[in-house]
């Protein structure tokens, strides 16, 4: 069993790694910047934990994202906290067990987060709001990557293990 402090530390390290990867990926290929890895992590954790845990996870992920992005601190923290709270309520009220359902929920959560961010920017009178096309692209790509990560990767790993057990060569 990991202590609560250990879990928080692991989460901080995970978010820092995701944030760092997200600043590097657009350098390799610009469209990779549409993947909101932080939202995938926050979403998947929020669906599996208590309400308070989800809220703190959203706040932490958002704050780290804000610190790395170079914009307004609190913007993504606010949006991710609100979205994580919504996801925790959703997971508490409905059965969200399938990986596909999780991918769809994470995609929707990304879109909702984008709308909240856009609303906050408008409210505070700051420029830089994302276009609807960019917002929908981000949501779609993030949901797709979430689906691949939760459905595809475990299946590939399981298939690879089966083949190894049978002594067959992996192609």
């Amino acid at each position: 069993m990991t202590s609560p402090l250990g879990r928080v530390a692991r989460l901080v390290v995970l978010f820092l790694l995701i944030g760092t990867a997200q600043t590097l990926l657009p350098q390799l290929w610009l469209p990779l910047g549409y993947i909101d890895g932080m939202m995938i992590a926050v979403g998947l954790v929020a669906l599996r934990t208590s309400f308070a845990g989800a809220v703190w996870t959203g706040a932490l992920g958002g704050l780290i994202q804000d610190s790395l992005a170079g914009g307004i601190i609190g913007l993504h923290a606010f949006a991710k906290t609100a979205v994580a709270a919504g996801l925790a309520v959703l997971a508490d009220s409905f059965a969200v067990r399938g990986q596909l359902a999780e991918a769809v929920i994470v995609a929707t959560a990304t879109a909702v987060e984008g709308v909240i961010v856009r609303g906050l920017l408008l409210f505070l009178g700051w420029p830089g709001a994302e276009s609807t096309t960019a917002l929908m692209t981000r949501a779609g790509v993030t949901g797709l990557v979430c689906g691949l990560a939760t459905v595809g990767l475990p299946a590939i790993v399981a298939s690879w293990k089966r083949r190894r057990r049978r002594g067959l060569q992996w192609h």
Binding site: F51, A69, I73
Partner: protein
């Protein structure tokens, strides 16, 4: 009762966090503060990982590029394949080196022509939220970089300014960021205005009087009056000129729009392609030592 108190506790936690974040945002809007200490702490932790990741990323892209190229080369005649492989690899490596060399020579010649001390830097990261136009460079406070330092690219074209410095890296706000502002001057008419991002690849030049003579293709340079950017750095060229909104309170007179407007609306094509910046020069404080690290030199 217990369930109710738990719900109340959860609601209180959520509301207090949201209010705290809203307060932090409002403070930044009002005071222009960007909570540099908190941000610096996070980038300070992540920047070494970013530098390593950037190096690995370059290695992966070059290896991947070679792999794809090798698959295509495999279709060639078998006997010539190895020679072609070798020659093409040399050509590719030579081209890459020549391009790199040309970029660095360009920066070197620009640096020689500029007043003040400038350090070469490489772009190692980009804003992943894509809501702000920022890039991360591999020079930080350890290299003498300070907040608000001007950053230029190939040909001396303006790239932006440093908005955040950590030990190893700095975040540069690009001139295309809608929140950026650069004191600018029309190269021919010498009229001054303010260039800001336009939420697109184009820039916008504001506060140029409708009476000013502006022509398409005219160069826009920094005015040096904003206290951040040195004067006469290239920003871009005029691509579109329109008339701004009429003066508030003036009756609308069709066909006399120009008479009632105060300013022109001018769009610019930036001199630098912000999506393809690789090497830049960052201005150092005047008291820094004259020994300048080259862009490729890793600390």
């Amino acid at each position: 009762m217990q369930a109710l108190s738990r719900t109340a506790r959860n609601a209180a936690l959520l509301l207090s966090l949201l209010m705290a974040f809203f307060l932090i945002m409002s403070l930044q809007v009002n005071r222009g503060s960007t909570l540099a200490a908190a941000r610096g702490a996070v980038t300070g932790i992540t920047s070494p990982v970013q530098r390593i990741g950037s190096a690995i990323g370059s290695l992966v892209t070059s290896t991947w590029g070679r792999y794809v190229w090798l698959i295509n080369a495999d279709r060639d005649n078998e006997t010539l394949r190895q020679q072609v492989d070798e020659l093409q690899r040399r050509v590719a490596a030579g081209d890459a080196a020549r391009r790199e060399n040309s970029r660095l020579r360009g920066l070197q010649s620009v640096r020689a022509s500029l007043a003040g001390t400038w350090s070469g830097a490489r772009v190692v990261g980009r804003d992943f939220t894509q809501r702000y136009e920022t890039v991360m460079i591999n020079r930080g406070s350890r290299d003498g970089v300070e907040r608000d330092a001007a950053v230029i690219g190939a040909g001396g074209a303006l790239v932006g300014r440093v908005i955040q410095v950590s030990l190893w890296t700095s975040t540069v706000q690009l001139i295309t960021d809608p929140m950026s502002g650069v004191g600018a001057r029309l190269a021919d008419s010498r009229e001054t205005g303010l260039v800001s991002g336009n939420g697109s690849a184009a820039l916008r030049l504001n506060y140029i009087s409708t009476r000013a003579e502006v022509s398409e293709g005219e160069a826009i340079v920094t005015s040096g009056e904003d206290g951040i950017y040195p004067a006469d750095l290239m920003i871009g060229h005029v691509t579109n000129i329109d008339v701004g909104p009429p003066v508030p309170g003036t009756p609308r007179v069709p066909l006399m729009r120009e008479e009632t407007a105060l300013f022109k609306v001018i769009l610019l094509d930036p001199s630098i392609d912000v999506l393809r910046i690789e090497n830049v020069l960052v201005q150092l404080p005047a008291s820094e030592p004259t020994e300048i690290p080259s862009p490729e030199e890793e600390p």
